[in-house]
């Protein structure tokens, strides 16, 4: 069975807030759910499937009860920031299998307002916890090795932030709206070598939600039709320390699976939402998905190649996690939302890709340099 063409994204909503000290986390989940339902033109009572991850207070049972849902299918897979890209694939599977017909996916939280709870650890805890692995330094380790093996430079990485900032200037909700230069990135403080402050994403409160449904229901609604045509997911870790290679992500497996199911290639893609926790995250994933050869990501992203209207591969036209929004330190949801905006023709006119009929939304979650997941979704305008 394939999910190709079986599931439609009928509703999207990105919370406009970037700082929400006056709201609860559960409330933010409810607000984004309400927003996505209104966007779709559906009511809460229509929802019969619900997907949420570790950011949902109390997990799927508590969250579904808080929202007052009566559902017949649920999934609380947590793979960090790409959870929602995984949920979208799983929702498509459930819809294709008839397990639900209108699925809600939510993400929300407030890392800017207060500290996040620590991530749960596994059997590795005694052997790793003491060494202070943080998001900054494990992505730094990937960048350091990539530079060593392929000669990738800080200037090339900086171009990714520059491209995101060009897009963010048109997003009224973006946390960082100023256009930056390569020099600005290189002159920002070093956080964890070789990553500078401007190589890092923003930290924001907020969230987002999706409504995923069947073709028949989507056609009965008023929004332009956007459907899933391919999905892939994968996991990668140090695997007992054998043949450690930090130059690639699990995207090398999730990407080809998604492209094969969709029956398209990277060359066909008109717009790309690529997870951007750090500049290096984008560069590695572009290589892993096949937009360029392994090791040539630096050359590929340089000179504005990711800027809409300028380069060959417009990416993260909302400003992405690097400039606009990275709610709950989890960027997967906003990747899907901007891809749907592009396919609907609802992106800002300054960044809208002409005739955008095929898009990719891809992300990794967890820690790229240690254990992580990847999920790739290929979306088509019907």
């Amino acid at each position: 069975m394939s999910i190709k063409g079986k599931a439609y994204i009928a509703g999207i909503f990105e919370h406009p807030t970037r700082h929400a000290p006056d709201k609860s986390t559960a409330q933010l989940h409810a607000e984004v759910a309400k927003g996505a339902l209104e966007d779709a033109g559906l009511a809460k009572a229509d929802i019969d499937g619900y997907f949420c991850a570790g950011d949902a207070p109390g997990g799927v049972m508590a969250m579904a009860d808080y929202l007052g849902l009566r559902i017949r299918h649920f999934d609380s897979t947590d793979t960090g920031g790409c959870s929602y890209l995984v949920h979208l694939g799983h929702a498509a599977e459930a819809i294709a299998a008839g397990k639900c017909s209108i699925a809600l996916i939510t993400l929300a939280g407030k890392p800017r307002t207060g500290p996040m709870s620590p991530r749960p650890s596994g059997a590795e805890a005694d052997f790793e916890a003491a060494y202070g692995a943080t998001t900054h330094n494990v992505y730094g380790m990937c960048a350091m090795r990539h530079m060593h093996e392929f000669g990738t430079t800080s200037e090339q990485l900086a171009w990714i932030k520059v491209a995101a900032s060009h897009h963010a200037q048109y997003n009224p909700h973006a946390m960082l709206k100023d256009v930056v230069t390569v020099e600005d990135v290189l002159n920002s403080p070093m956080i964890s070598d070789p990553l500078h402050r401007l190589d890092c994403c923003v930290i924001t409160d907020g969230g987002g939600a999706l409504i995923v449904t069947t073709e028949a229901i989507a056609r009965s609604l008023k929004k332009p039709l956007v459907r899933m045509i391919g999905h892939g997911e994968a996991l990668k870790g140090p695997r007992g320390g054998k043949d450690l290679d930090l130059t690639y992500s699990a995207g090398v497996w999730s990407g080809p699976r998604a492209f094969e199911e969709a029956g398209v290639t990277p060359k066909d893609i008109k717009y790309a939402s690529i997870y951007d926790s750090f500049t290096i995250t984008v560069l590695m994933q572009l290589e892993d998905l096949g937009f360029c050869k392994k090791g040539e990501g630096g050359k590929f992203v340089a000179d504005g190649n990711l800027i809409s209207g300028v380069g060959k591969l417009p990416f993260n036209t909302d400003g992405g996690g690097l400039c606009s929004n990275h709610p709950v330190n989890r960027g997967g949801m906003t990747k899907i939302i901007e891809a749907v905006r592009q396919l609907r023709g609802e992106a800002h006119p300054k960044v809208q890709v002409k005739n955008c009929d095929l898009a990719i939304a891809h992300g990794t979650g967890g820690l790229l340099g240690v254990r992580h997941a990847a999920s790739t979704c290929i979306l088509e305008r019907v």
């Binding site: 005694d126 380790m141 090795r145 054998k242 450690l244």
Partner: protein, 130 residues
């Protein structure tokens, strides 16, 4: 990181007890599978490669080289260098580089194991070989 840093105490469990007993003796232990011949780290009872239960403890030379690293410039306990070491025996492991000039760390540099105290068993770290 220096001696002022307080490291977490390993909790241990029946599967890894031997490892922590040996760090007290200044030994870094790895596991090797006698079915497929592969060594792995951190230690498991069942081989993560061939899934055989014929795994045995082996003392590592404690020598290896830096696969990659990143220097965290600011933290509550000061700057520190996290990285991976690839041991002579094959497996790579996550660690910190200590007792050294962190600004001079290089990929490929030879390093050796050193142990730092905790309230329980000592923890393995690595330092460049002079």
């Amino acid at each position: 990181m220096d001696s002022a840093v307080k490291y977490p105490t390993p909790q241990g469990n029946p599967e890894t007890a031997k490892f922590w007993k040996q760090t007290v003796e200044g030994k870094l232990m790895i596991k090797r599978c006698t079915a497929c011949g592969e060594a792995h780290y951190f230690p498991r009872s069942i081989c993560p490669f061939c899934f055989s239960d014929k795994t045995v403890w082996e003392e590592s030379s404690g020598e290896g080289e830096i696969y990659t690293f990143s220097l965290t410039r600011k933290s509550a306990s000061g700057p520190y260098a996290i990285g991976y070491v690839t041991l002579k025996e094959g497996p790579s492991l996550l660690t910190n580089f200590v007792d050294c000039d962190m600004a001079k760390l290089k990929i490929g540099q030879k390093v050796k194991v050193v142990f730092k105290t905790t309230d329980g068993a000592p923890l393995p770290f690595f330092t460049p070989v002079r």
